[in-house]
Amino acid sequence: EDKVVQSPLSLVVHEGDTVTLNCSYEVTNFRSLLWYKQEKKAPTFLFMLTSSGIEKKSGRLSSILDKKELFSILNITATQTGDSAVYLCAATNNAGNMLTFGGGTRLMVKP
């Protein structure tokens, strides 16, 4: 059974801190891993990772995929209170007909 596991479940940091969120996956015929930020209800797309070892970067956020060890990390540097959200990781298969989500990491950034 396909599985995506995120850690930690929750995290409380102060503004300016750097955080690393983890996502491990076991997906048959894995194709891509996606990261989303969920503040209210509808998640917002952050990154899609398909190739191993290539970092994707957007401002203070970056992510990388390790297809050998089956995990991905999402880094946020110089955190701000606006980064407070649930961060979701999801994995798709080659057929593109399944998307399995992890349980999310709830990040709270205190002023």
Partner: protein, 116 residues
Amino acid sequence: GAGVSQSPSNKVTEKGKDVELRCDPISGHTALYWYRQSLGQGLEFLIYFQGNSAPDKSGLPSDRFSAERTGGSVSTLTIQRTQQEDSAVYLCASSLFWNVGTDTQYFGPGTRLTVL
């Protein structure tokens, strides 16, 4: 049916026209999701339905987009006054429940929309 089905598979329309995209979820699945995937991009969450509850529309890109789900099953995504930037593959998915983290979403084949 055994999986999620969508129709049409391809739709070419002229700018300014309205389009309707249909999704038939897996029988018994209570949650239904619409996504959009533009070229080279990840899945953009548009709207989801959980059972008979009012849908969460917060992901819809503009008020030209609307969706409904009749009888807790079939869903229609409507785009009014289409624009060229609406061109994308529209994907529908369903899951047994709305419970991110424990439920797998199963996708339909998508509708490729091209707005000329």
